[in-house]
Homo-oligomer: 417 residues x 2
Amino acid sequence: MTRVANVSRTREIDAALRRRAREVIPGGMYGHLSANNLPEEYPQFYARSEGSRVWDVDGNEYVDLMCSFGPVILGHRHPAVEAAVSAQLATGDTQAGPAPCMVELAELLVERVSHADWAMFAKNGSDANTICLMIARAATGNNKVLAARGAYHGSAPWSTPVVRGVTPEDRASVQYYTFNDLASVEAAAAHAAGDVAAVIVSPFKHDAGFDQELVDPAFARGLRGLCDRIGAALVLDEVRAGFRLNHGGSWETIGVEPDLSAWSKAIANGYALAAVLGSAPLAEAASSIFVTGSFWYQAAPMAAAVATITALREQSAVASMLQRGIRLREGLQAQARSAGVAICQTGPPQMPNLRFVGDENFERSRLFGGACAAGGVIVHPRHNWFVSAALSDDDVDDALATTEMAFAAVREQFGGS
Amino acid sequence: MTRVANVSRTREIDAALRRRAREVIPGGMYGHLSANNLPEEYPQFYARSEGSRVWDVDGNEYVDLMCSFGPVILGHRHPAVEAAVSAQLATGDTQAGPAPCMVELAELLVERVSHADWAMFAKNGSDANTICLMIARAATGNNKVLAARGAYHGSAPWSTPVVRGVTPEDRASVQYYTFNDLASVEAAAAHAAGDVAAVIVSPFKHDAGFDQELVDPAFARGLRGLCDRIGAALVLDEVRAGFRLNHGGSWETIGVEPDLSAWSKAIANGYALAAVLGSAPLAEAASSIFVTGSFWYQAAPMAAAVATITALREQSAVASMLQRGIRLREGLQAQARSAGVAICQTGPPQMPNLRFVGDENFERSRLFGGACAAGGVIVHPRHNWFVSAALSDDDVDDALATTEMAFAAVREQFGGS
């Protein structure tokens, strides 16, 4: 059980692995799963995962509210997904060509996602976004891309948020607009003067370190109208949100269809896969570019994706994630109120985001996150969290037992607000 | 057995899958495993793989001399690799953080590859090459990269051989030289006028559609000297060749050490993994860039890599691949001579390349490849082939029984030469 928070949890094996890692990995770790920039209560290395829980290398158990930053949507080691992977691995994975499940998966995605007439597959979310832009450029003959300022579309040179190692030319084709501000998109398009290949946009604003912002349907419709008017492709970056908001595309409820969408993270419940989905008019451009990868035709991740997407709807996973997300959000709000700590929760409940009011340098959220880790709950101080369909009401309640103490720690350190 | 060639092998299931694929995948397939540009005797979809053999969806068996374009180095479904993957999947794969095997793998690579002091991991060979260039740019503050004209370094916009969907800016930082021609590298460096971040080079020239060319040790030493003189990083692209020529880096036998090397394909025997290896002076630059991916910390492919790299040396896999590659090459040469067909075999025997003399439009090699496929051997008409350590003398002899008929078909169609 995780109800008993214990800041003196053993961390010896993790510490030894971190020492070894510093000898053979730059900085000891890199990227979004690095614990370097997290409070010291977070482990770096994990030994085991099952359903809604993860265990670090020292055997400490956690309710996992990060889901590896999204990929784990049915919960860790979901039986149907693992069975599909095992069955596929027993016959073949990286073969002389793709397996039949590639066709099944493309058919399933085309059936589920309303704008999609076809699918291509890759390995990273960055691959999928980059391919969308290449297809848009091939289709339009234009070069420029309009992207929301501060949005994360992957860590390729054109998109990584850190410019070290990036050339000015890597960004030369990107013009920036403000999410939910159509006038800023029009201005960016005007600045690109007839050379716009694509407008890329996330289903909602989920920039790390900021309040999340749902899309204004009028903004989405405006983007569609703009793209139609100037002959650009509308690209929806579903990498982070895909399948957590809907069993189809994230904008289907508001009735706006992109021309291209980029998917990855959750589509195979943690197995490495990305997908580009597109509408029929872009199929020819899609087949005119040359993109490929050594592992893009791997059968096991595709079998995992078929099992994942099937199970998501069979289990009514979106409704389940929404319900547990709301339970968590309401619990957090009540706890913060009781503790006299002002918080701001934004974004879809399936992808919770919690900010402490007046917490300019994330000091409160770091203290909160560290206290949660010490108490057996993995959240993130600056990034949205992720609910999986494996999360039960009891899991939420277990998590809340820890967050209550974490709020108390914030109150004690920083006072009320 | 594959000795009995049969051009009327059943292909109904493959044909039906191709029809379905054309409805939901642009052009029916894309990338390097597409059968669209191959003779009609090649299947598109595969059902099963084991050791040196693959089976298409209609149950036809083939000796696999392509190894999925390199990833399969120990043979399909190698027991030690599969056991490592199963064991890791039974505990966790895409978790809240990396597993201990990430450290073990980094340590193993640093131990095996002489220039390497550290390792980072990604998913695609393209990722690894791009990260090398980003690190070189971060370290030097320079932008330009010198690359061999016609070399394949992946399908990212800066490197894909097809420029559809690519902007001029994507290539603006790349200057081209001629492999094995140091004067051309000096000229490219002079043209880049003090702004060279890196020189990227393959261990040997393995451009598709051309004779392969081993590196001139003086050229390799010259690149090292040039990079030292102008303060650029020497990047060795080991993606295709890595671990087929040596159990360490491909240039260790000639004594030239790069600053950075990019690995992928064979390092995990088909599981999706890429690695960047670097020398100590570049560790700080490596930790200053932001690169990451949703699946880059997956434990199972790292466990597969530890098992693969361990098994490679335990099995003396390089010697085995070399020996079978020589047996194949000598057999092909004798058959071609008997058939009165002039061929040119180039490159390391572990990565065979066969060209028909005077075969300008690849007509002979297409006929030959199609006849091989019909007779139960997978080769490629334009690209180098790959020998795996699972290939036995009997497998080579089985393959040669088919190639003998394929040479006869070439002789019959095109006459002697």
